[in-house]
Every structure is written in structure tokens, then in C-alpha cells.
């Protein structure tokens, strides 16, 4: 792959079937609607917190389609709701996390959108920016030591993570050992309230790869097919011994960082509205309609199905109990929690 910034390609199927293309749209819609549900529940006072990924649907659906479930490993960050859904997390699991119920995978410990699942190959993460990247590199090294060819690690992060020292350390180590890992940057231009111009001297994160001796590519993060192609190429190369790649997907964060943030304090409505033209969800809906893959009527049916799924999952998750207080003491160590013996 050339180390260049590819223009957004005209609509192409990229070898994807109608079913796969609709599947990507389904993931994008589910992400947006579930996120909306999180914000609603917060405003209703039913949950303390939710975070936002609106604008990331394209890159996440594309990356999820490229991810080989049951084979690849995912080290995501907390804005990857769509990626988690795309690799198999269910609406119900997301709602258990939002409601912090006892049957949530983390037992109600983790913040929303900090999913983990051995079943799906999703690693456990903290909220500490870029901390998961060295874990991803270590996991890729483990695949190498065990001689597990045909598997790769996908590590994702935002533009903000690229300022962390561990971002550099992780790319550098992966490059030294040519590890089977793909670094996918979901560049949404904002680190909470800090714009790209205050984060870095030049705005193209993909250009930094050359400094590590890594191939890189830059794609339109609003285009799920382009993102699928870029991540798929990179994962294929990683799985076949070609080493790591940095992929930069330029997208945008349409909402505030979380339910506790107010983006009106640091960016203009005009800027946000200007980016709405590139909103990946309606654009992909239109493209599938124009290509005769999913009609407007079929789209409405799909949205109705998803809403019913989310409503059912909301009711079911809300009805589940919180973890009991005794759960606080479990899984500190394999053995006793008591520091005194």
C-alpha cells in the first residue's frame, strides 16, 4: 500500500455482498440509536453517564467488517460502540453496561462503553488514553511466540491518544518486531475540547508512520467501505507476516464528549453543522438506496426492527438487578482480597 492519502473512492462494493453492505449499515444505525438511547436514559435520570461516538459509525462499521471474528483480537477504546457491536456485542450487553447491572460482563464495575469479551476477542480496557496500545502490541507478540499465523490484532484510538508517549512506544516496538498489529486512528479532530491544531504541529497522523518505518494509509472515516478496504488490507498484511500498519480514518465527533460535557463552550455550531454534510449514516443510507441495495421502505423497516430490539433490550436490562455490595470484593486476586495473612 502506498503511503499516501487516498481520496475517498467513488461508491464501490469492495467485494462485499449486499448482505454485508446492509450489515454494515445495520451496525451504524444500531450504534447511533443505542447511543441516543444512552443519552435519553441519562437525561431521564436513569443512568449516571453515557459517552458519544456519533460521527464514528463509518470507520467502526468498516473496521468491524474487516475484523475476523474468532481469530483476530481487538484492543479498542471507549468510543468504539459501533466496533464492539460490529464484532458481535449485543444491544442487550450494551444496555446492561449502561445500566451497570450485575450481569454486565464487568459485573457493573466498568464505565459504559468499556466492553470486554473473551468470546468476541475484545480486550479489557481502562479509560487511560493509549494505555491499551502496548497491551495490543504484547498480544501481537504472544501470537508471534506461539506461531499463530493468520491472526492479527486491531488496536484503535482517537487523535488525542497520539500525543501520549505510549502511543510512540507502541508503534515503535511493533515496527522493530514487525508484529501482526494494525493501529487504527479514529481522528475526530477533538480531544474533548482541544482541537487538532493544539494537539500537533501537522494534522496528518498517518504521516508519522514513516518515522517508525511503518506503512500507513489515510481514509475518509465517514465512508465505511473505504474504511473496510483500508483496515482489511492492513489486517491481511498483518495476518500474513507483513507487519504493522497505521491507518488514519478522518471522521468527526458530532456530539459532546460525554453526557457530562458541553461542546458549545469550545466549538461553534457552524463548525458542527458544516461536518453534518459528511454524516456517515444518512450518506450510506442514500448510497445503498441509489445502488438498489436497500430501498427507503426497507430502510424504514430495518430502523423499526432495530428500535424494537433496543426497546426490548432496554426493558430487559433495566429489569435486571444491580450487583450486590459483596461483588465489590470479588476478583481482586485469584486468591484472598485481604492484604493481611
Amino acid at each position: 500500500m502506498a503511503t499516501t492519502n487516498r481520496p475517498s473512492p467513488p461508491f464501490e462494493r469492495a467485494g462485499l455482498s449486499d448482505e454485508q453492505l446492509v450489515g454494515m449499515l445495520r451496525t451504524m444505525l444500531l450504534q447511533r440509536m443505542l447511543e441516543n438511547r444512552g443519552f435519553q436514559l441519562n437525561r431521564q435520570g436513569k443512568i449516571p453517564f453515557a459517552s458519544a461516538s456519533e460521527g464514528h459509525e463509518g470507520v467502526q462499521a468498516g473496521a468491524a467488517m474487516a475484523f475476523a471474528r474468532g481469530r483476530d483480537l481487538l484492543f479498542p477504546y471507549y468510543r468504539d460502540l459501533g466496533l464492539a457491536l460490529g464484532v458481535g456485542l449485543t444491544s442487550y450487553e450494551v444496555l446492561l453496561s449502561l445500566f451497570a447491572r450485575g450481569s454486565d460482563q464487568s459485573g457493573g464495575r466498568q464505565f459504559p462503553h468499556h466492553y470486554s469479551s473473551r468470546r468476541l476477542g475484545i480486550a479489557t480496557i481502562s479509560s487511560i488514553i493509549a494505555a491499551q496500545l502496548s497491551h495490543a502490541v504484547g498480544a501481537a507478540y504472544a501470537l508471534r511466540v506461539r506461531g499463530e499465523h493468520g491472526r492479527a490484532v486491531l488496536a484503535t484510538f482517537g487523535d488525542g491518544a497520539t500525543s501520549e508517549g505510549e502511543w510512540h512506544e507502541s508503534l515503535n516496538f511493533a515496527a522493530v518486531h514487525k508484529l501482526p498489529v494494525v493501529f487504527l486512528c479514529e481522528n475526530n479532530e477533538w480531544a474533548i475540547s482541544t482541537p487538532l491544531a493544539k494537539q500537533m504541529g501537522q494534522p496528518d497522523i498517518w504521516r508519522r508512520a514513516a518515522g517508525y518505518g511503518l506503512p500507513s494509509t489515510c481514509v475518509d472515516g465517514m465512508d465505511p467501505v473505504a474504511c473496510y478496504l483500508a483496515v482489511s488490507d492492513a489486517l491481511d498484511r498483518a495476518r500474513t507476516g507483513g507487519g504493522p500498519t497505521l491507518v488514519e480514518a478522518k471522521c468527526y465527533r458530532f456530539l459532546s464528549h460525554t453526557t457530562d460535557d458541553d461542546d458549545r463552550t469550545y466549538r461553534s455550531r457552524e463548525e458542527v453543522e458544516a461536518h453534518r454534510r459528511d454524516d456517515p449514516v444518512p450518506n450510506f443510507e442514500r448510497r445503498l438506496d441509489e445502488a438498489g441495495i436497500l430501498s427507503a421502505e426497507a430502510l424504514e423497516r430495518l430502523k423499526g426492527e432495530l428500535l424494537a430490539e433496543i426497546n426490548e433490550a432496554t426493558d430487559r436490562a433495566e429489569a435486571m438487578p444491580y450487583p450486590g455490595g459483596e461483588e465489590l470484593y470479588r476478583n481482586v486476586y485469584a486468591d484472598s482480597t485481604d492484604p493481611w495473612r
Binding site: E169, S170, N331, V332, R341
Partner: protein, 336 residues
């Protein structure tokens, strides 16, 4: 000590040899074991602990890392999460600070935040401690910075046989263990080390010398000095009990309380500075559990609360204790 072999043979070795022999066996016996750190490969570690390991086990399992402590630990966490048994080395404990988040925020919480779905069977070894003219960045004690953290285990053995038994226990442990090796004891301290694989339970202290007048609790280099001081006091007719903690988290409450209830006086001795140190927790625990068994206030003999020991000999000397200074602290408490 839990020793597996009934027909016991042993060898005399020093602490650094015990580390080396134990790591060698771990590499030999388990292909999942990898060692990573600065200069552990071709150079064989700055103390030659892993000398020739890279030749025997290959550079894939003995990894010379870039100088990047945060990711040395972070990469080891990823390896551990995915089924390897990494032993990460921080070249000197003083260099561990860049890895603080990876140890405290990530390794210690992996099992907890995933509710047991992911675990972090990781050993982080590091040489610590002073008395070697190491100045501000090659002599610190770091245990108090980490022993506050649930999810971590911290070991600080003082004798070669304990180094082997506890390092084996750390390697076998399913959770992250910070393994502290006092660098002044590396070649100074020799002892019998049983052959074959054995482990010492984490969280068990060792009563090195029984006594009746007061109890001294210590770990690391100062255990040896406390023992020397106790032998001196024995000749003066003062009987001192000396306890080597060996394990700092978890810590052996039973051994400390049993001793204090017998001698009715407690002196905690450590090289780390006093404020918020290991001695503070021990003192609080004894005050909570055995206050009315005490015949004297609990005493702590620790380093002064300064940032570090200076390079100049008098500065190091002022910072460090000695068998004579420890003996004096013992006499004072005995007289109370």
C-alpha cells in the same frame, strides 16, 4: 518452607545467582515464559543475571527492549492477557516511574475490571535499594509507592533460598507480582539454596531469630543488619526477635502479632523513608489489634524524609542505617 524434594541437596549461592538460576529454570521449563527489559539480551542484564539466556533461548524469548519502561510493562501485560508468562525487568527500580500507570492502573486492575475474564500473570523484577553509591536515581526504595495498591503483590526477599522460592511463587502466581531485589545483597549475601523446584508461600514472614525482649520487623538488606545487631545485643543480655517479612503485600499479620504478643515491644526497621512507609501500616495494624499487649510505644527506625540519598559518601552514610544504628534503636526500645 515448602520444599518438594525429600532427599534434599543444596548449593551455596548468592542472591544474584539465585535470581539467575530461578529465571533459567523458568525459561527452560515453560515455553510460555519470556523475559523482556533493557539490556537483558546480548548484554545479559547489567548484573549479568540473564547472561547467555538469549543464546540459549533465542532473542524471541529474551527481548532487548527499547528504553521505554511504560511499554515494557504494558507489552508484558498484553502478553500475559494472551497466555504468555512474561517476566519484565525494570533495570533499576528508580526507572519504574514511567510505568506507574501500567502497573497501578492496568496490571493491578485487569482481573478486577474484567470480572475475572482477563488476568495478568506477570512478574516485574527490579533491583532496588542503596548503600552502593547509587545516588538519586540508582538507590531508591519503591515499595511504599506500590503496596497501597490492591491487585498487586509485592515481594522483597533477603536470602538466596527465599529469592528462589518466592521468585518461583511469583512466576506461578496468576496475578501481577512486583519482585524487589536489593542490589547491595546481590553478591554480599550467600546461603544454601535447595536444588529442584520449590515455592515459598507468598504472604508468609520468617522468624529468623527468636527473642523475648522486643520484636524487630524488617525486610531486604536491613534484615541482615537487624540480625547482626540482634546478635550483638544477645551478648549484652538483650534477647531480640527478628522477623523477615519477605512479602510486603500480602503481609503476615499472624507472625507479627504472635511475636509482639510475646515480646510486648515492636521496632520496625526499613531503608525506605518513614512517612507513609511500610512501618506505618505495620504500626497501625499492631495498634489496632494488639495495643494492650504493648509495654512501650511502637518505634520505627527508617530513612529520613528526604527525596533520596546523595551521591557523596557522607550523604549516603547519613541516609543509610547500619548494624550499629539499628542496635542503638533496639537498646533504646529495650530500655523503655
Amino acid at each position: 518452607m515448602a520444599v518438594s524434594s525429600p532427599t534434599q541437596t543444596s548449593q551455596v549461592m548468592n542472591n544474584v545467582d539465585a535470581v539467575r538460576a530461578t529465571l533459567y529454570d523458568a525459561m527452560k521449563n515453560d515455553p510460555r515464559t519470556v523475559i523482556l527489559g533493557e539490556d537483558v539480551g546480548a548484554r545479559g542484564n547489567v548484573f549479568l543475571i540473564t547472561k547467555d539466556f538469549a543464546k540459549e533461548f533465542g532473542p524471541q524469548r529474551v527481548i532487548d527492549t527499547p528504553i521505554a519502561e511504560a511499554s515494557i510493562v504494558g507489552i508484558a501485560i498484553g502478553m500475559a492477557m494472551e497466555g504468555l508468562r512474561p517476566i519484565a525487568e525494570i533495570q533499576f527500580a528508580d526507572f519504574i516511574y514511567p510505568a506507574f500507570n501500567q502497573i497501578v492502573g492496568e496490571a493491578a486492575k485487569t482481573r478486577y475490571r474484567s470480572n475475572g475474564e482477563y488476568t495478568c500473570p506477570l512478574v516485574i523484577r527490579t533491583p532496588y535499594g542503596g548503600g552502593v553509591r547509587g545516588a538519586l536515581s540508582h538507590s531508591v526504595s519503591i515499595e511504599a509507592l506500590f503496596y497501597h495498591v490492591p491487585g498487586l503483590k509485592i515481594l522483597a526477599p533477603a536470602f538466596p533460598a527465599d529469592v528462589k522460592g518466592l521468585l518461583n511463587a511469583a512466576i506461578d502466581d496468576p496475578d501481577p507480582v512486583l519482585f524487589l531485589e536489593h542490589k547491595k545483597t546481590y553478591r554480599l549475601i550467600k546461603g544454601e539454596v535447595p536444588d529442584g523446584h520449590y515455592t515459598i508461600p507468598i504472604g508468609k514472614a520468617n522468624v529468623l531469630k527468636e527473642g523475648s525482649a522486643l520484636s524487630v520487623v524488617s525486610y531486604g538488606l536491613y534484615v541482615h543488619w537487624a540480625l547482626e545487631a540482634a546478635q550483638q545485643l544477645e551478648q549484652e543480655g538483650i534477647s531480640v526477635e527478628v522477623i523477615d517479612l519477605r512479602s510486603i503485600r500480602p503481609m503476615d499479620k499472624t507472625a507479627i502479632l504472635q511475636s509482639v504478643e510475646k515480646t510486648r515491644k515492636l521496632l520496625v526497621v526499613h531503608e525506605d523513608n518513614k512517612f507513609g512507609g511500610i512501618g506505618a501500616e505495620i504500626s497501625a495494624m499492631v495498634a489496632e489489634e494488639a495495643l494492650f499487649s504493648l509495654d512501650a510505644p511502637i518505634r520505627r527506625h527508617c530513612a529520613p524524609d528526604v527525596p533520596a540519598m546523595g551521591y557523596a559518601e557522607p550523604l549516603e552514610h547519613e541516609y543509610m542505617s547500619s548494624p550499629a544504628k539499628i542496635a542503638e534503636a533496639m537498646r533504646e526500645l529495650a530500655r523503655f
